[in-house]
Symmetry: C2
């Protein structure tokens, strides 16, 4: 299938590469951020599985095509100015190539739950 | 404050502009995507409020500085390859300039809850 005109009309620039956020449809966890262009969005709409554009390999990248850790699309929303995409997905296995469930596993700031002062925002000391 | 060296070490390129996702810390809703550079990350760590880099105005943009719709930082995580940021925030008011709670309010695909077939992924017909 091709991208319907009403969807193309919502994109700020249908020919540019834009960030796409994958969020677990069930838990709400943000899993990863990758990029999409018209070709990858078309592939995603056609297959129902998240397909990005690999900037390093300069080619289509169906998430999980080699690992089996696919992302089945539940919904896709564009942001207000049509230059970012939110995919709600059913994630099979781990989203991250490290084996972590989410790619966002490097904490740099945490805040204690019982604190209301910005002074208590502190950077995390990494052990490595 | 400046960005601690252990955080700089996690960034793929500390001098580049990278996408930053703001997620509601309480509801898990993805609110918006904007961009951060070293200067805006420093401002965010210092104030405890999300501060982005405006690509259109080419200047620091403290979210809510004019609207009052600030984002108080609860946590910040980097992704596995250090080129995307996830902010969990307490959002005051609406995240979107349109008045919508989230910027991702333009549905292009929805899937019926009782469907397990990718053939049922269908694009949304916009009324406008």
């Amino acid at each position: 299938m091709s991208i319907p005109q009403n969807v193309l009309d919502l994109l700020k620039d249908p020919d540019s590469l834009i960030p796409a956020i994958a969020q677990d449809a069930k838990t709400g966890e943000v899993l990863m951020l990758a990029y999409m262009n018209r070709e990858s969005l078309t592939a995603t709409l056609t297959s129902g599985r998240a397909t990005y554009w690999s900037r390093s390999r300069n080619e289509l990248w169906e998430k999980g095509a080699t690992s089996g850790h696919t992302q089945e699309i539940q919904s896709i929303d564009l942001d207000c100015d049509g230059d970012a995409i939110l995919l709600k997905v059913t994630q099979v296995g781990a989203a991250c190539h490290t084996g972590d469930r989410t790619c966002f596993h490097q904490p740099i700031v945490t805040r204690s739950a019982n604190s209301s002062s910005t002074a208590n925002v502190s950077t995390v000391k990494n052990e490595s």
